[in-house]
């Protein structure tokens, strides 16, 4: 252990090679592809809602990355087509998430477009699904004796409604719902969009096998 210099040089070379392949080249590829043509920038309300989404830590349970049909039945679940790099062009930081304790939300605005549904569900998920393990967010709502003009009243079944007065959505809840309603990536993906196509070959082979079997 007395030849330190070659050791340092070799380890630095290995590290910089990994950095080049895993960080720098992908970074350059992503920077080149830009925003998907169909993607709209966030509106002011959506951008505020996104900040609420980030601050609530939604990504710890909800991913934003539907997979290809070759990898998972996300399309059949109504979660939308597989996302590509350009779909996240306006997301800094991105909210890809790694956990799917709850469903993927990349196309929640397409799958559950109802503002009323989203507000009820945020106020008390158990009002809709008794088995839901999603936390309730009552502090995004206010209990009022009477709704003022312009207030959005949350629709609730008798079991969850207050005995008197109404529950109205605070601005944070309305912004968050605007953000969720805006989550629609239903345009065709750009041809040069980057994504993990690792299972496409397997799926294509499977498809050919099926076709051969069916023709017999």
């Amino acid at each position: 252990m007395n030849r330190y210099l070659p050791l340092v040089i070799v380890s630095l070379a290995i590290l910089s090679f990994a950095t080049l392949l895993l960080v720098i080249i992908p970074g350059m590829q992503i920077a080149k592809s830009g925003a998907s043509p169909g993607l709209k920038p966030y509106t002011v309300a959506e951008a505020r809602g996104r900040a609420v989404y980030v601050s609530m830590g939604c990504l710890y349970c909800h991913s934003q990355q539907p997979r290809d049909e070759a990898q998972a039945p996300d399309g059949e679940r109504g979660w939308g087509r597989a996302s590509v790099s350009g779909d996240y062009a306006y997301d800094t930081p991105h909210q890809l998430g790694t956990m799917r304790t709850g469903p993927d939300l990349m196309n929640i605005g397409d799958r559950l477009p109802s503002q009323g549904w989203q507000l009820t569900h945020l106020y008390q998920p158990r009002a809709i699904a008794s088995w839901s393990i999603m936390p309730a967010y009552p502090y995004l709502f206010a209990h009022k004796a009477k709704a003022d003009p312009g207030d959005v009243v949350v629709k609730l079944p008798p079991a969850y409604a207050p005995k008197t007065g109404v529950i109205v959505a605070k601005q944070d809840a309305l912004d968050l719902v605007s953000y969720l309603q805006g989550m629609k990536h239903d345009y065709a993906p750009p041809t040069d969009g980057l994504r993990d196509d690792g299972y496409e070959l397997m799926a294509a082979q499977q498809h050919n096998n099926d076709a051969a079997k069916a023709s017999k």
């Binding site: 049909e69 979660w79 699904a129 196509d197």
Partner: protein, 427 residues
Amino acid sequence: MTDKNKQDPRLPDETFEPYEEPRRIPMPVYWIAIALAIWGVVMLVQMSYSTKIGDKERASMSDQEVAATTPVKAEPKPDAGKALFADNCASCHGDAGEGVADAIPPLHASDVVKAGGASAITHIVMRGIGGPLIVDKANYDGEMPSFASVLDDKDIASIANFVASDLNGLKSTVTPAQVAEIRTASADLNPWDGGSGLAGLINGLPAQPASETAPAPSPDAAATAALAMHGTNEIWSCASCHGDKGEGTQTIPRLAGLAPAYLAKQLHDFKEGTRINDSMDYVVKSLSDKQIIELANYYGAMSSPSGARPSLEGDLARGEKIALEGDWTKNVPACFTCHGPSGIGVGDKFPGLAAQQPAYIAHQLAMWQGGSRHNSPLGLMAGIGKSLSDADRRAVADYLASLPPAAANAKLALAVSATTKETSNGQ
């Protein structure tokens, strides 16, 4: 092995350092390294094929979108019209456009087509038509759906020109650009109101029957529309998820034009727990039997363009085969055997499938398979669901999404309200 050691072998060696002779790396290590390198290269090559397949898929998806949204300049070939007519029109109007007596008006040597020419055909294909109509002195009273969502401008121009020139010997033609103009003008318009609706469109139209006067909207109907569009204090509106035109989205089904008796049965099934969906369970809890029937009639009588497009990467040819012929190697009958020609639906047991949302169809088929949906007559759909693979589900769902929607049938709605409204027996 230094000189120091040799100087005096009796003295203990205090400067000894252990060392090893340089040894060769064992051969197995080389083999493993070479095998890993080869594996890596093979994986890289395979992955590059996968990426190519993925790129091709994305290219075809964006091509479809481009084809659907941009008018095509090129003049269509005359043969294309004949083939498109056979694919889209002949199943009702007949191979030679001869029609069906008392049911489907003829397109061959038809006085309405002769008066209106290719442009009138384009208008009708774009919006659909329903209600009393007189063609060649014969009365018809049927429904034709809008094909706007199914055919692009070039296809509609080909069909209109084929019907005008080949079937009626007219000189009049339309270009895809003119079709595009008609498409823009017809967006969001309801189907033509029978022959009388065409009066303003076609000069020299043969005499037509008066349109059925729409019944004055009753207070009940206004309340039902308000319920569907705005909900109540407890429940969200139907339209907030199913869309203002009942066209559905993703796993939320299209409701427009489904048989009212089918819709009412599903709502009752949600209420009784024989069909399960958390959001629908919530909604039906506060709907009365009367409201259920009124909503079923409301959506049954609704006629709206298709909101569905193939989106699950399904194999459309395979989907068409399953829908039209079934797959008897898997004991799957053709969808259209029960659900009607072109998936327009039959009676109250077999809902229309045409223009249904693909994610909804695939999702429901998976639910039939897994047993979480089990409310079909005789358990028919459970067996079919079990026989279809994941790729088959997506194929058939995408194929059905590519079809024109079934036209609404107002007569079916009246029958339901007459028989079930008073009794509300939950059938």
